[in-house]
Amino acid sequence: MTATALPTPAVAPAARARIDRDDLLMRIGICVLIAWLIVTMALPLWTLLSKSFQNQHGEFIGLANYIRYFSTPALFQSVWNSLYVAITSTVIVLPLAFVYAYALTRSCMPLKGLFQALALIPILAPSLLPAISLIYLFGNQGFLKDLLLGGSIYGAGGIIVSQVFYCFPVALMILVAALSTADARLYEAADALGASKTRVFFTVTLPGAKYGVISAGFVVFTLVITDFGIAKVIGGRFNVLATDIYKQVIGQQNFEMGAVVGMILLIPAVVAFAADRIIQRRQVALLSARAVPLLPKPDTRRDTALFVLCAVIGGLIFGILAMSAWASVIMRWPYNLSLTLKNYAFGDFDTNGWDAYWNSVLMAAWTAVIGTVIVFAGAWLLEKSRGFAVGRGVAQLLAMLPMAVPGLVLGLAYIFFFNAKWNPLGFLYATLAILVINSVTHFYTVSHLTATTALKQMDPEFEAVSASLKVSLWRTFARVSVPVCLPAILDITIYLFVNAMTTVSAVIFLYSTDTKLASVTIVNMDEAGFTAAAAAMAMTIVATSAAVKIGHVLLTHRLERTTQAWRRR
């Protein structure tokens, strides 16, 4: 058989994959991504950590700050307060969101689309909005104050109710996703075996949605414990970790103690994040390719009961939003209820006036554009490059970390990092750019996961085919990856825009007088007693987010009809 007389070596030579130009460029791209994530996240956090071990003169003092923190009951109490509101809110949100999600996915009740849209409204609003509404309803001059029987809305109760409103849509989305993936065959098998409906629920439905429930729990817990706006507006004298950081840094200019509280706030967030990751890893795909999708059958009693429940929950959500909307156009609560637009003349309440709003729009737009480019290109590099396992692993880890870092902590870390004398990037401090960078980083992980999921759904052999056809990866990126992932790319853009528009905690430390944002103005106006103007600004943000979101829906529809014609058969 041997035709050519090549000498066969005793030991086969080790192969060393020669990398081509595309591979090399991709690796450089990954290194740039790593550098970006280190500069925008790892280094600031490192600066924050070292700051917590220093005194006001920048000298290393070991654990002294921490010892002082834990030996000051007034400070330490906040840890328990934070845990209390976070756990209580989670325990309340989960069952409500589960029933709502169940109704949306597993019943035949009417108006599902409306209920879904209604429940997602809070996402478009800054977290401050429900707190402001509650103050109008139950505050010192609230018209439902008597319902509290002499109690006060300021404090833990107000925080929890507001958090439930604010976190509901996030929990709902996770649970809807979990409940949507059901295999009808399991239900048919259970029916055939004569299992009762209750038994089917506990043996099929609940186990199937288990990981969704756990994940929703961790996400809500983290959201509550790291949120700043609600506790600020309605917390009264009930201190939580998030407001403590603000008080230490802005109120007392005690940056070192602020850093300590920041590090402490990081702990529950990181623990929740790590626990969620570990549990998610155990989850195996419940839905095999052969699964038969479950189509709910009508059941009048069940559907009516769920409809009533959804109507109540949806009504409350709408009521809270409507309260702020109404409050924003009222002359003088509660004495003069005639309608006016004077609360929208923001210049009368805050020196920045409408400029703050335009700053927000500009900042959100830049975040959306720059963030989408970085996130999608980054996810593509990590997903499609070959070899270079170490670099990809590091980048992947860095891309996942922002989720575990509360916005407030990241903002504080940015102060220390970009303000440091040694930092050549100091020129960014107090610019709009730093707000954009901060927002891109803060919302990086969710966007990254969206992009990764979309990229993973593409055939993994596209790049192999391109290589065999001698087409560069960049061409395939532009010609195939981007068009195929366009819906996901738009999702990322909108996610970044809406979050940048509504966030308070990520930016409260970083604005300057010229770059003040709408959400920050709400805090300031509320502090100054201009609650109606604060409500008006909150409504302006809601309107903007809603307009962008509706535009997104319409655009997606159009895209599906035109450029995405290939998706149809």
């Binding site: 035709a3 086969a12 192969a15 052999e461 085919v465 001698k470 068009p483």
Partner: protein, 366 residues
């Protein structure tokens, strides 16, 4: 077409090893493939056949060993610098591009003129029997049609070698059988060196000039379909390709083994000394039931334990040595009718010595 000493191999694989962590997916594989040959890599999942194909394509570079293509060493080259066209089980057609754009994808980057590309694309589409589908999107085509488009795309740059990674596995049985013939015909027309990975023995037997049977990262046998089927080199090959009876036996002497109480003559390798445990292999269709004379070698009596009707023939379970059915035999409907074969019937059968294969006994065998 098959390997002869006269032609130089087009593809030469030399001591290829691929490790994934501690797991060796390929163990010291050497192989030669000749110009214009159609070679199938056949084996169960996890046997390393796809790994070998991907190493040849440069998609997953081997840990050690060398690959020569067309006389040139390509061992360390990335895929983009090798010369091949590839078709995957998933088709991997770009969903947002039309069929024409998919087929012409590699031509555009070559800087060919539009008209030229159009002509070439139309030629290729005609070649795979889809002259009218250029403007459609992949999702509008059936699985079989999509795979033809993928084939056309792989051939667009006139590569020196065509690699097919389970190209028919995602299709249903009828389409598969049809496309099998078409790919074969296409190969004969273009005479392009082709390697196809498959786990389907029927596919390999019908399509290949030579079959490379693989298992656990090593090559068990390389041979023409007839060689592989008729003279399997190992018990694994005998078992994986086609159906085979395995009978435990002990070597009785030169050219003789003992199967229970029955003495059988067979073609015995010298490596098997007397008293050695061996496994006999014989295909069900090689069990003889007609024209048995007293002088016919390896004749003994068996009892019909069960009959399975399979349309054109019957598969009969035969009990020998008074035990459970130990031997499957395929008898034509004619034979069943003429000899009155029915459950419980005792009758003489013969195992022709030249049809018996002898392998060393391995505990893992069925």
């Amino acid at each position: 077409m098959t390997g002869s000493g006269a032609t130089a191999p087009y593809l030469r694989i030399e001591r290829l090893t691929k490790l994934f962590g501690n797991f060796a997916a390929l163990k010291d594989i050497s192989l030669e493939i000749f110009p214009g040959e159609f070679v199938c890599f056949l084996g169960p999942s996890g046997c390393g056949k796809t790994t070998l194909l991907r190493a040849i394509a440069g998609l997953d570079i081997q840990t050690s060993g060398r690959i020569f293509q067309g006389g040139k060493e390509v061992s360390n080259l990335p895929s983009s610098q090798r010369d091949f066209g590839i078709v995957f089980q998933s088709y991997a057609l770009f969903p947002n591009l039309t069929v024409s754009a998919n087929v012409g994808y590699g031509l555009v980057s070559r800087g060919m003129a539009r008209v030229e590309i159009e002509t070439r694309v139309n030629d290729l589409l005609r070649l795979v029997g889809l002259p009218e589908s250029g403007r459609k999107y992949p999702a509008q085509l059936s699985g079989g049609q999509q795979q033809r488009v993928a084939l056309a795309r792989a051939l667009a740059l006139s590569p020196g070698m065509l690699l097919l990674d389970e190209p028919l596995s995602a299709l249903d049985a009828r389409v598969r059988a049809h496309l099998r013939v078409e790919i074969r015909r296409l190969h004969q027309r273009l005479a392009i060196t082709t390697i196809m990975v498959t786990h389907d023995q029927e596919e390999a037997l019908t399509m290949a000039d030579r079959i490379v049977v693989m298992n656990h990262g090593v090559i068990e046998q390389v041979g023409t379909p007839t060689e592989v089927y008729r003279r399997p080199a190992s018990a694994f090959v005998a078992d994986f390709v086609g159906t085979t009876n395995f009978l435990p036996a002990i070597v009785a002497g030169p050219g003789h083994v003992r199967f229970g109480a029955i003495n059988l003559a067979c073609d015995l390798d010298v490596q098997f000394g007397p008293g050695k445990d061996v496994t006999l292999a014989i295909r069900p269709e090689d069990v003889v039931v007609r024209n048995i004379a007293p002088s016919t070698p390896n004749t003994f009596t068996a009892r019909v334990a069960e009959i399975e009707f399979l349309g054109s023939f019957c598969r009969v379970g035969l009990a020998v040595n008074g035990g459970d059915p130990a031997l499957l035999a395929d008898f034509s409907i004619n034979a069943v009718r003429d000899l009155g074969i029915a459950e419980g019937k005792e009758m003489p059968i013969a195992l022709p010595p030249d049809r018996l294969r002898v392998f060393p006994r391995q505990s893992s065998l069925p």
